[in-house]
C-alpha cells in the first residue's frame, strides 16, 4: 500500500480568510434553519470537523469553544453545551486527522459519522443531567445527513485551494 493519500491533486495552501468565511456561512446556515426541529443538521459542527481534520493548526479547540458559545446564545440553549460538544468533536477530529485523510472522500464520510454523532450525543447527555427529556431519535439523524454531504462539502470548501496561484501551460498542476 502506498503511503501517499489517494488524491493525486496537489492543493495550494489554505488561506485563513477562506476558513473564517466558510465558518461564518455555516453559522448563518445554522441560524437560517433554527426553526426546523426535526432532522436538523449542525452545519457549524460539520465545517468545524472538516477544518479540524484538514487544518488542525488553524482550527482547533479554541475556535470550537468560541463557535460553541455563539451557538449557545443564538440557540437559547444552556451556556457551554455546544461549546463542550464542539471542543470534544474538534479534538477527536484532529486526533484522527492523519488516519481519516488517508481514505478517499467516500470512505472518509463513514469515518466522519461517529465524529458528527459526538455533538448531539454530548449535548443530550448534558441536558439529560439537568432534567431534559429524550428529544426523540430524529435528533440524531442530522449527523447522517452531514456524512452524506461530506463529499460535496469537501469539494466546495477545497475549491479555493484547487485554483493554481499562477497558471502555466507547461506545468501539469
Amino acid at each position: 500500500m502506498s503511503l501517499t493519500p489517494p488524491s493525486s491533486r496537489i492543493l495550494s495552501p489554505v488561506r485563513p480568510g477562506v476558513i473564517l468565511f466558510s465558518l461564518l456561512i455555516m453559522f448563518l446556515l445554522n441560524l437560517m434553519f433554527s426553526g426546523v426541529r426535526r432532522w436538523s443538521l449542525d452545519w457549524v459542527a460539520l465545517a468545524l470537523i472538516f477544518w479540524s481534520i484538514r487544518e488542525p493548526h488553524y482550527i482547533g479547540m479554541g475556535a470550537a469553544f468560541i463557535l460553541g458559545t455563539l451557538m449557545d446564545v443564538a440557540g437559547a440553549s444552556l451556556m457551554g453545551q455546544h461549546a463542550m460538544a464542539y471542543v470534544l468533536a474538534s479534538y477527536a477530529a484532529s486526533a484522527f486527522s492523519r488516519r481519516i485523510l488517508r481514505f478517499s472522500l467516500k470512505w472518509q464520510a463513514i469515518q466522519i459519522l461517529p465524529l458528527l454523532q459526538i455533538v448531539p450525543l454530548i449535548q443530550f447527555c448534558i441536558r439529560f443531567a439537568f432534567g431534559a427529556d429524550f428529544p426523540g431519535f430524529d435528533y440524531f439523524i442530522g449527523p447522517f445527513i452531514g456524512a452524506a454531504l461530506w463529499r460535496p462539502l469537501a469539494y466546495i470548501l477545497l475549491w479555493p485551494q484547487y485554483q493554481p496561484v499562477e497558471r502555466d501551460e507547461n506545468r501539469p498542476v
Binding site: L31, V73, R127, A132
Partner: protein, 304 residues
C-alpha cells in the same frame, strides 16, 4: 545550564492539556448557567453579536415572504381589506356591548365591595424565530428592554395564553411557551371552577397534574387561567382537555390537554403589562415573607 530539551517545532500546550482546559471551562459555564443563572451578562453581550447575524440569516426568508405578499395581487388585498372592515364593524358592535357590561360589572362589584378586575393592556410583538434548542420550547420576539419589556410578563395571542417572557435582551426577548417541560400555569376548569396547575410536556401537549382519579374533568373541558400566580390575568383561555385516563390503579388521573393559542404559529403576540403588586389584607400582612419566597421559587421553576 538548563536541562530542557529545546523543542524542534514551535507549538503551544499539548492537545490533551488544551482539551482539559476547554472542557473544564465549558463545564464551569454549564454549571454556573444551569444552577446559578449568573451568566446573563455574558449572554446579553454575546447576543449583541449573534442577533445581527440571525437577522441576516433570516433576511432571505422574510424577503421571500414580503415579495410573495407584494405580488399576490391588488384584488386579494382589497378583498382582505373589505373582509377586515366587515369584521371590525361586527366586533365594534360586540365591543360596545362588552364595554357596557364591563361598566355594569364594575358597578356591581363596587356594590358588593369586591376587588375590581384589572383591565389588561400590553404591547404587540412579532415572533422572529423559534429557538433551535430541541430540549425546550422557546420563541424570540422583536421587543426587548428598550421597549420596556421585563422578565415574567405573560404573553397571549388571539386565542389564549402562549407563554411567559423568561429572558430580556436589549432589542429582543425570549418567550418560554406553556408547552415547555418546565413551564407551569395555574388554571381553573371553566365548567366547574376546579383549580389545578397545568404543566407542559415538551411535546406540544400539556398535562393537568395532581388531580384525583375521581375529579370532575371531562374531555373537551375548557381550562382558563385562575390568576393565582399574579403573572397571568384571570380568565384567559389556556387549553382544552383532550384525553382523561381515570385508571384507578394510580393515585392521580392522567389528563392531557392541547393549547388553545396557536403556540407554534408565527405571527403577532401580545406581551401583557404587569399587574400592580397584590395588596394583602391586614390579617395576611403578618405572613408577608411567605409570599416572596413562593413567588421566587415559582419564578425559578418557570424560568428554568
Amino acid at each position: 545550564m538548563s536541562d530542557e530539551v529545546p523543542s524542534f517545532f514551535k507549538r503551544g500546550p499539548a492537545p490533551l492539556a488544551r482539551l482539559c482546559f476547554y472542557v473544564t471551562l465549558s463545564l464551569a459555564l454549564i454549571i454556573v448557567d444551569a444552577r446559578f443563572r449568573a451568566l446573563e451578562f455574558l449572554r446579553n453581550s454575546v447576543f449583541l453579536i449573534t442577533h445581527p447575524l440571525q437577522q441576516l440569516a433570516l433576511a432571505p426568508a422574510s424577503l421571500y415572504k414580503n415579495a410573495s405578499v407584494y405580488f399576490s395581487g391588488l384584488t386579494r388585498v382589497q378583498e382582505e381589506n373589505a373582509q377586515l372592515k366587515r369584521a371590525q364593524l361586527e366586533n365594534e358592535v360586540q365591543l360596545l356591548r362588552v364595554r357596557q357590561v364591563e361598566i355594569e360589572n364594575e358597578r356591581l362589584r363596587k356594590l358588593l365591595d369586591m376587588k375590581i378586575l384589572k383591565k389588561t393592556s400590553g404591547q404587540v410583538a412579532r415572533v422572529l424565530y423559534a429557538a433551535r434548542d430541541p430540549f425546550s420550547r422557546r420563541l424570540i420576539v422583536d421587543k426587548g428592554q428598550f421597549d420596556g419589556i421585563s422578565q415574567g410578563r405573560a404573553v397571549i395571542d388571539y386565542d389564549g395564553v402562549v407563554g411567559q417572557v423568561t429572558r430580556v435582551f436589549q432589542r429582543a426577548s425570549e418567550i418560554t411557551l406553556i408547552t415547555d417541560k418546565n413551564h407551569a400555569v395555574p388554571v381553573q376548569v371553566l365548567r366547574n371552577g376546579l383549580r389545578s396547575v397545568l404543566f407542559g410536556l415538551g411535546n406540544g401537549q400539556l398535562e393537568l397534574r395532581l388531580m384525583p382519579v375521581n375529579a370532575d374533568i371531562q374531555s373537551g373541558d375548557q381550562l382558563v387561567t385562575s390568576g393565582l400566580d399574579g403573572i397571568f390575568p384571570a380568565g384567559m383561555p389556556v387549553a382544552r382537555v383532550v384525553r382523561v385516563d381515570n385508571d384507578a390503579s394510580y393515585v392521580f388521573a392522567r389528563i392531557y390537554c392541547l393549547p388553545q393559542a396557536g403556540i407554534e404559529n408565527f405571527g403577532e403576540l401580545m406581551i401583557l403589562d404587569p399587574d400592580a403588586p397584590v395588596v394583602l389584607p391586614n390579617e395576611l400582612a403578618g405572613a408577608k415573607p411567605v409570599n416572596p419566597v413562593n413567588r421566587d421559587r415559582r419564578k425559578r421553576l418557570v424560568r428554568e
